[in-house]
């Protein structure tokens, strides 16, 4: 029986790509043999007392933080959540002795290159080290907006997205094993030419703006004079 706690670090909460990845990883685990729990960081921060959430996290064997990349780093509200957990964890002797939970991160960014998550992955490594927990590895995934909007039409096990599914399988195996199976961060993204990604991305923004009755030309507005 493994205790796994997922923490969604997206300001969009349950409607986010971070949650989509949590759901994708969660379904890989046998629910009979593992106990999973999901904490939404925005909801947790709104609670008057979120110690219950931190207790669940601290008592898990594995925490998987799933969050979006904001300006090359961790979104500010989620950083605040991490500060709070650090403060809580300082008073927990159990963690200091066992160096548990083991920390994983799934980071998603809007650009196609998964490797653009490298700084955030390092920050999470520093975080785990500072609070005295065991760092395992991060999975940095590009094209978050595309992954979300295409999840029904292009499943995660399709050829284009298979590398992401395989990264999730490595994470699952690492959690299920008590050995160190994966040493390095994994940076990956759906397989498509950059030109196609840019074309589709730009078209996506125009189409979404049109729903708000905003024309393409208006998207280039310069309100600051």
């Amino acid at each position: 029986m493994k205790k796994i706690c997922f923490v969604n670090g997206s300001p969009r909460g349950e409607k986010s790509c971070s949650q989509y990845y949590i759901d994708s990883v969660k379904q890989l685990f046998d629910i009979e043999k593992n106990r999973t729990h999901v904490i939404i960081s925005t909801a947790s921060l709104k609670k008057k007392n979120n110690f219950e959430d931190f207790k669940i996290m601290a008592e898990s064997e594995n925490i998987i933080f799933s969050f979006p990349l904001y300006i090359d780093s961790i979104p500010s509200h989620f950083l605040e959540f991490l500060y709070q957990f650090e403060k809580y964890n300082k008073v927990s002797e159990r963690n200091a002795i066992n160096k548990l939970p083991r920390i994983y991160a799934i980071i998603n960014n809007g650009f196609i290159e998964g490797h653009q998550n490298k700084n955030a992955a390092r920050i999470m490594y520093h975080y785990a080290s500072r609070i005295g927990l065991t760092w395992r590895f991060a999975i940095g995934i590009g094209a978050g907006e595309f992954m979300m909007t295409s999840k029904k039409n292009i499943p995660i096990q399709s050829k284009m997205k298979l590398c992401i599914h395989e990264a999730f399988l490595k994470l699952k195996k690492d959690i299920e094993s008590n050995e160190v199976l994966c040493e390095n961060n994994i940076f990956t993204n759906p397989k498509m030419p950059k030109k196609l990604f840019m074309f589709m991305g730009d078209r996506h923004w125009v189409q979404r703006a049109r729903k708000n009755k905003i024309r393409k030309k208006e998207l280039y507005n310069k309100p600051i004079k």
Binding site: P11, P68, Y70, S73
Partner: protein, 197 residues
């Protein structure tokens, strides 16, 4: 406005002294600048709604200090962020301000150094300068911080960041001197009128 100074002076004496000495440099030199001290200020965090791209292009839905800073940012020649360094990244308030800069860029993509980034909304952007402070920072955390600042600079339409790290009070004078040397390189000149006043 020539210089925009944004500080989160809520962590340690090194930040406090850095802010004081940088302001002394700016005052003595008669440089035109605007200072935002954001410690303990109410700043909304970016909620990822994309309204600033798709509903009110270039304008954030929140109207607070972070929005004011975003407006002043594109009007300035140099933006200096003073933050503590924790886990190799900025403080929460400084991160809030950085996250809230996205109205200043477009949703559309372009290639920079063979990587995809968002395109510029405006013609000019300030030099991206960061002063990171803290006594207990590892070399690896500093390396991460510098790499992060460089990545930020690219997303804020500059080739690279200018990063100064102050681990002790003695590092501050060197930082201030280096900043002054860079001002002329960035085209920032002393305002003789201000000096006379």
């Amino acid at each position: 406005m020539a210089i925009l100074l944004i500080s989160d002076n809520n962590h340690n004496s090194i930040i406090e002294k850095s802010v004081t000495k940088i302001k002394m440099l700016l005052d003595k030199g008669g440089y035109q600048y605007k200072h935002y001290e954001i410690a303990n200020k109410k700043l909304n965090h970016c909620i990822g709604c994309f309204s600033c791209w798709l509903k009110t292009p270039g304008i954030c839905i929140f109207n607070d200090i972070a929005s004011e800073i975003a407006k002043d940012y594109v009007k300035s020649d140099v933006a200096i962020f003073i933050s503590n360094i924790r886990y190799g990244t900025y403080s929460v308030p400084i991160r809030r301000v950085l996250d809230r800069q996205i109205p200043n860029i477009l949703p559309f993509f372009e290639k920079v150094n063979n990587e995809i980034h968002h395109s510029s909304r405006y013609n000019n952007y300030p030099e991206f300068v960061v002063v990171g402070c803290g006594e207990d920072i590892s070399d690896f955390e500093i390396e991460t911080f510098k790499s992060l600042a460089d990545a930020n600079a690219i997303n804020f339409k500059k080739e690279k960041a200018f990063v100064y790290v102050c681990r002790a009070v003695r590092d501050i004078d060197e930082t201030v001197q280096s900043l002054e040397n860079h001002f002329s390189q960035w085209g920032i000149t002393r305002n003789e009128k201000n000096l006379l006043c």
